[in-house]
Symmetry: C2
Subunit: 389 residues, 2 copies
Amino acid sequence: MADRYFEIKKTQGTARLGRLRTPHAEIETPVFMPVGTVASVKAVPQETVEELGAQIILGNTYHLYLRPGVDTVRKMGGLHGFMSWRRAILTDSGGFQVFSLSELRKVNEDGVTFRSHLDGSSHFFSPESAMGAQIGLGADIIMAFDECTEYPAERERMRASMEMTARWAERSKKYFEEHKNEVPWRGQGEAAAELRSTGQPGAAALTQNGATQALFGIVQGGMDRALRKESAERTIEIGFPGYAIGGLSVGEPRELTREIVESTLEHLPKDKPRYLMGVGTPEEIVEYANLGVDMMDCVLPTRAARHGLLFTSEGKVSIKQARYAQDAGPLDPNCGCRVCARYSRAYLRHLYASNEVLAQVLNTIHNLNFYLETMRKVRVGIAAGSAVG
Amino acid sequence: MADRYFEIKKTQGTARLGRLRTPHAEIETPVFMPVGTVASVKAVPQETVEELGAQIILGNTYHLYLRPGVDTVRKMGGLHGFMSWRRAILTDSGGFQVFSLSELRKVNEDGVTFRSHLDGSSHFFSPESAMGAQIGLGADIIMAFDECTEYPAERERMRASMEMTARWAERSKKYFEEHKNEVPWRGQGEAAAELRSTGQPGAAALTQNGATQALFGIVQGGMDRALRKESAERTIEIGFPGYAIGGLSVGEPRELTREIVESTLEHLPKDKPRYLMGVGTPEEIVEYANLGVDMMDCVLPTRAARHGLLFTSEGKVSIKQARYAQDAGPLDPNCGCRVCARYSRAYLRHLYASNEVLAQVLNTIHNLNFYLETMRKVRVGIAAGSAVG
């Protein structure tokens, strides 16, 4: 099952321990990818995100396209150069944010016309322009432009949306194949030279062996198992080095999410990486990894942190509560992160209650560590043959 | 001129290179003290403040008294334990914030009745209660309760205010001498034991040799040189291990600040540390150090950082400006801080323009480094005999 790009080292039930080779980093899977919406994992410096062991982070094409703009990022050597992140990056297609954040959107076969949530200005994303944007942003993994079907939806609407996503996937791939050599860090340009000069192993390989971005396809089909199967088959027919399951976590019950994930996974190639977009709680990411998902991202650890909701080995802690005001213990006695090693619950509670910026910084560091450590344990479990598959 | 508490190692003109021995740290002077208003140097984790080389930080009694409250801090072992800061801390008396932030304040000989700027609740600070609060907070250096005279003021008002500050200084000292053994980290209590267990040199010495807090007096007298002289003499008559110049940077022209500082310094003992409160720009802290000031604090580096105003070797940079949008260079090419080592002006500008929390974090780290490095250079200059005195 091994290929150059993705190698499965071990399986345990349906769970897989793998290695994904991207231009900027080799990634151990299953992997959790922190979300760095506008080229920042909110509140945390890149050196700290590295220290936490994040192997790959996410950028949102919709946000970056609006601000600072693709042209600026491209001129800085792509996202890696712009934000000074040396490991891997994945960008989404922009589709999900266009559907969830923008105003007055109009969808037709060509693409989507939408208004910016920032200033109301009018913009257009097509499969081609979304690919152009993602090539300019220069992530290691980019996503085909899809339509995220709303929930709930009628079956005819789910079918029509799934079919348009399939046609858009074909156009996305065509554009990508014709333009993939335009990625800012490939070849002999200034950005590529500067990247090589960092001495990162990935950077060296990058321009020497002609490695470039990988484009993943996205399976849609709403909450209908038959449509999901058809979407998987049509996406595989087009052919991608990895496949994502999109259109989940859009308001449906968790049981339904799990059912659709499980049934869709059956139709995805075993030898390609499988990326479940936008999930979940710590329990859910373990569950999905054990079902055979290789990659996940979610804003939950970072967003919850900013609202004082912290994940610990003893359950969720709402740090704003008065009961922690004089609690000298660490947030999580079983956690080795720098926050739990140094600060008390009383102090974290005070920072949150006082609306101090440091609350966001420390809470985010802890929650990210919890998620990344959770996934490390899943990998160790598969390696040891003790994963619950 | 040497004593156990403060030793002057070298002078160059009026400038002095010294060493201040506090219970938690030995401090090289002249020193700049970052402000950590409510037990946080805003936006920056304590480990980063340490890494930047801060030897001592400031806490504001007024803010800490209101939130989280002195009792909570005391139970956590004082500010050192509460915020997990192992080096030295200084707290102000609360007087300045009562005068600048609180509402409906009424001053009489006993003290000041004021309403909280947070919730309008009514409170009372006297020299005795302000000392009690500062003993509970447990900083290494605490300040006598003073009245900060407003500017401009009539001479009679300046005199009356200065005289009340002198009487309050006497009451502050009396209360301190009677209660200084109540500091939370002294003796055999749990907080003291925990502090010793950190293995910090200061912590070990702390409880072994019975070291405790030092109370500094504050010279007032408005913008009148004769009143400043009289205030200095009366404060020295009471007797303190260090003397502060208060009541400046309250709206007066900078020339006048300098004139009052210079004339007041003449009346302060040469062998005691001199602390100029609440100044200033990078140029000013160099100037005052060269006049013979040993300690300074200011919110400017941290507050300006949060507004995108950055201090560099090439002058001030307003990072929000569009001219930096595609500037791949470091913020300050002559700066060795972790921000300048890793991030571009373009990225810092993007973070600020996108209202990202990381902008506050990175900008504050840089500005603090600039101030601390500025003062390090002053010390090196005095040691090398090249200071401009």
